[in-house]
Subunit: 236 residues, 2 copies
DNA sequence: TAAAGGTTCGAACGTTCGTTCGGTATCTTT
DNA sequence: AAAGATACCGAACGAACGTTCGAACCTTTA
């Protein structure tokens, strides 16, 4: 139900030529490999997220990660082939988890407005529960280059299109006129900006914020446009 | 009138112990010093903005700036005492210019809604005309530490409060109920996110975007809140 | 228990970094 | 033309960087 911090769930990717494979022997295996390697990997990725979040990708050093995890500098390279792959694994896992969870939740509703509210809530809940990973995703948006950069960009595009389609459904079902692209990007701005200001001691939780931002955004796109004196169409 | 790129206007700060001073001799002097030093300084800051924008502050090197400007590595330090001061000067100048221009434009109107639209338009126009400097301001938001960091943070806070007050005026004059803090930060998200997506070949210009975003945001805060069936109060 | 393979390490490699220093051109003022 | 200030540079410093290598340790398998 809740998108709590997935502290130990950062694992399972193809790393260093190593494949994600069901245990070849007869041992029990859950959906996700849970070998010593995988657990240590998840721990390293969590620490790396925190460090990248705090000092930025370029400002963080492998020595920082070595110090934080207690593992030697050389030992780290048993798990990643480079610092760049470290960032790639964090971004890919974060984005994939966000999309996967969103898809599950969207399956529970067919009402266009409610589905947009589900999107906002899901995004904010994940953002607040995984602040560091989320900041790394947003802040290092165009840090990765070439293959790995293209792969993460493709996932990002998929996320964009999910949101775009939600808005188009809403727009059609309410007979509205607004630019889908501008609406998506405005909404993304609102919900992705949160990591620059949210303070859990003074600001509301994800559910409250999602309702408030949903109100602002949905009312905004509903009544926006040239005409200033439109009536509300719903439940006349 | 227009906030065109201030390519040569990055100058005039206190640098390296050097003071901004009216010419001590009898020569003509404009508002801004225009010595050889100042002109070269402005050129260096412009190049530095572009480099910081492209590679990030940590990823950019003084050698990059040396290469881009044609000045030797050592020569650069005649203008800045450190790389950090370079970032400081860029951020301070950018923020100061934004606020100064905004203040001038706000003086031209007393209508609360129009003033918010002026704010949005002024911000977007500057953002699109000075993409690189703006990205450096947003992206390296918490890069500076200690004194210089606090100084830029204070300017940022001032900008926040200007917007906050605009929204409170609007809220009062229309008898609305919404959280000023959340509204400001949502609006900031919308307008600051633009540097991640705006493409001048496919997206509208600042004036159009300001109108569209203004519509979304203002309608949003006007009709948001628990009550869903409010009438429009303006011009009944 | 011994071999095998997965895991970790100290030490170093070559490179790049921000910054400094002593000195030389260039300009301005006398 | 001398003198002083300003502008600039080649060369180098020490520190930090990402990464590699061979050897050691530990766990699992035979």
């Amino acid at each position: 139900m809740s998108l709590a911090a997935t502290e130990t769930a950062l694992s399972g990717a193809t790393v260093h030529g190593r494949k994600k494979i069901a245990h070849p022997d007869g041992r029990k295996s859950h959906e996700v490999n849970d070998t010593r390697f995988d657990r240590r990997m998840a721990d390293l990725l969590t620490h790396a997220s925190n460090i990248f979040c705090e000092k930025g990708y370029q400002g963080a050093s492998m020595r920082d990660l070595s110090r934080a995890t207690g593992m030697s500098l050389a030992g780290l390279y048993h798990y990643f082939e480079s610092k760049e792959e470290l960032l790639y694994l964090i971004q890919k896992h974060t984005f994939t988890t966000i999309i996967e969870t969103l898809r599950q939740r969207l399956a529970g509703s067919t009402d266009p407005e409610e589905r947009i509210r589900i999107f906002i809530h899901s995004h904010l809940e994940y953002s607040l529960a995984n602040k560091q990973a989320m900041k790394v995703l947003v802040h290092e948006d165009d840090t990765l280059k070439n293959g790995r950069g293209a792969e993460v960009a493709a996932i990002k595009k998929e996320y964009y299109h999910i949101c775009f389609n939600l808005l188009e459904d809403f727009r059609r079902s309410h007979g509205l006129e607004f630019s889908g692209r501008l609406a998506v990007l405005s909404l993304f701005g609102m919900i992705n900006w949160i990591h620059t200001w949210h303070n859990p001691r003074v600001d509301a939780d994800a559910t409250t914020l999602a309702r408030q931002m949903g109100d602002i955004f949905l009312r905004g796109v509903t009544h926006s446009g040239k005409a200033r004196n439109k009536i509300n169409k719903k439940k006349p």
